[in-house]
Amino acid sequence: MPQILVENLVKTFRVAERSPGMWGALRGVLKRRYRTVRALDGISFSLEPGELVGYIGPNGAGKSTTVKVLAGILVPDSGRCEVLGRVPWKERIAHVRQIGVVFGQRTQLWWDLPVIESFELLRDIYRVPQADYARSRDEMIGLLGLEPLLDTPVRQLSLGQRMRCDLAAALLHSPSLLYLDEPTIGLDAVSKLAVRDFVRRLNREQGVTVILTTHDMDDIEALCSRVILINRGRILSDGSLTELRRGVTTEHRLIVDLAEDEGQFHDPEARVIRREDHRLYLSFDPERVPAAELISRIAARHAIRDLYVENPPIEEIIARLYKEA
């Protein structure tokens, strides 16, 4: 039985429209025009326990709205949604006990209190028995390296430190489901790696199901076995990263470092995308010309110092998908 089941979910928002300028503002006082925005327009998917799913889409696609419905914060207009056998917004209190949520742009820690006191407060709010609390607290402190931060008030933490503490805070009550809404937003490279590593271990070692929304394609590439792409409230694709790639392009990249600058380069099956001194970026379709054949053909004509083949960067794939959407 799936852990999360979503069928035909619809959520609309009413947005007051106002004409620009003073006159428009005055008219708005007398008569309001409303525009209905369909944030979710028939979303369906299901998730098995232990999955780690990337939920991606451009800004305003409906990612956060989905997460909020799944968390029981927003009530959808229509459609079915069951998480762990419960309808989130109908049994909110029982439901939220089972889930952990991190909104990357906000903190759930108490701004003025030292980190450890926020943890203790959450222990009391979730009524976690002391023994369980001590175990998961020590585990989180170890995994996320929080020891030196515990006595610092939250407002004095750096963003990366705060995010690590927020992750711990979301997991103190040992939820079986974790929603991460842009957990790496604004973080530096080292902090991003720490967060990714932690999420991966949590998923692999403890079987926590994770839904991750992000704009950082490295997050997706490093973590997600399955990617759901949405735009304007509709699901555009749902599958593995490889399938997503294949759906857009079968192209591969060949990067060649030539031994010397040879001026012209020409091959009927390879397109030059970019050229930096001695380095050529080529694009080719492996269905029309296998990589080995192309390489030997180039090697026969040019002196090659180095070369490698790679997939097109996922950013480009996504950018193309967003554009098509």
Binding site: S64, I73, R106, W110, E120, L121, Y126
Partner: protein, 263 residues
């Protein structure tokens, strides 16, 4: 219960960090108290008509008002206000607790913490130097303490209601200002209720606001006899219960149409 207790104690500790704000508050309140007392002195000297409260009673009343100003539901609780405005309210909804009770406790905690920080020094200073008198009898003191508890509970239920209006208007400043004025005038904070015209008294007696200031302060200075406390306390509780029920109903409706602001 443990969850709510934990929230209250955390808020208390947090408030104790803001000592500078408390000191500034005490200074402001002392200044305002002195100004008000000067006005009443002029008023009492200029008229020989019989007054419903003696001059020393009025002075005590004014100081009580300054000491317990922070307890009145006349200002916005910026914390929860900020939560709703910025959308951080999302995290509030993720807690496995009853949201109304959760918010009520937060307000209760912040009100009592900031009141305590201001009331103690003002009591000391005004009591020693500025004419604040102790209650006339022990019975008056006990009646006052009971009515203060009622006033605190009632005040918080009004505060929650004001805050809930944010679920509909987001900016909410209009409603808070309106509530603020209504509370300050109708509770007896600006002018003691016995000084209001006679026709207004029956109306003021029925409204909930009287229970915030008029009832506890007049029990303290002896202008109300202590044996009247029981019905007045019950009135405070009845209004509290009514406003809590109204708040819970509004919250239930507000949540359904909640738009979590921003991203």
């Amino acid at each position: 219960m443990k969850a709510y207790r934990a929230i209250i104690s955390a808020r208390f500790r947090m408030f104790l960090q803001y000592r500078a704000a408390a000191i500034a508050g005490v200074g402001t309140q002392l200044f305002f108290g002195l100004v008000l007392i000067m006005i009443y002195e002029a008023f009492y000297r200029s008229s020989s008509a019989p007054k419903p409260m003696s001059y020393p009673q009025v002075v005590t009343y004014v100081w009580l008002g300054q000491a317990f100003l922070a307890m009145l539901p006349w200002y916005t609780d910026y914390e929860i206000y900020g939560l709703i405005r910025t959308g951080a309210v999302a995290y509030e909804l993720l807690r496995p607790v009853d949201l109304y009770a959760f918010w009520y406790c937060r307000i209760l905690a912040s009100r009592s913490a900031s009141t305590l920080l201001r009331a103690v020094p003002i009591f000391l200073i005004a009591g020693l130097f500025l004419g604040l008198r102790p209650p006339p009898t022990l019975a008056s003191a006990a009646a006052w303490a009971l009515a203060m508890l009622g006033a605190l509970l009632l005040g918080c239920s009004i505060s929650v209601l004001t805050m809930l209006s944010l679920l509909w208007t987001t900016s909410g400043l209009g409603i808070t200002q309106l509530v603020s004025t209504v509370v300050l005038v109708l509770s007896g904070m600006s002018v003691p209720l016995p000084l209001f015209p006679d026709w207004a008294r029956p109306i003021l007696d029925v409204l909930p606001f009287r229970g915030l200031v008029d009832v506890p302060f007049r029990l303290y200075n002896g202008s109300l006899p202590p044996e009247e406390v029981l019905p007045l306390f019950l009135q405070q509780l009845a209004w509290t219960a009514g406003l809590v029920l109204l708040g819970r109903w509004l919250l239930g409706r507000g949540m359904r149409r909640l738009v979590v602001q921003g991203g």
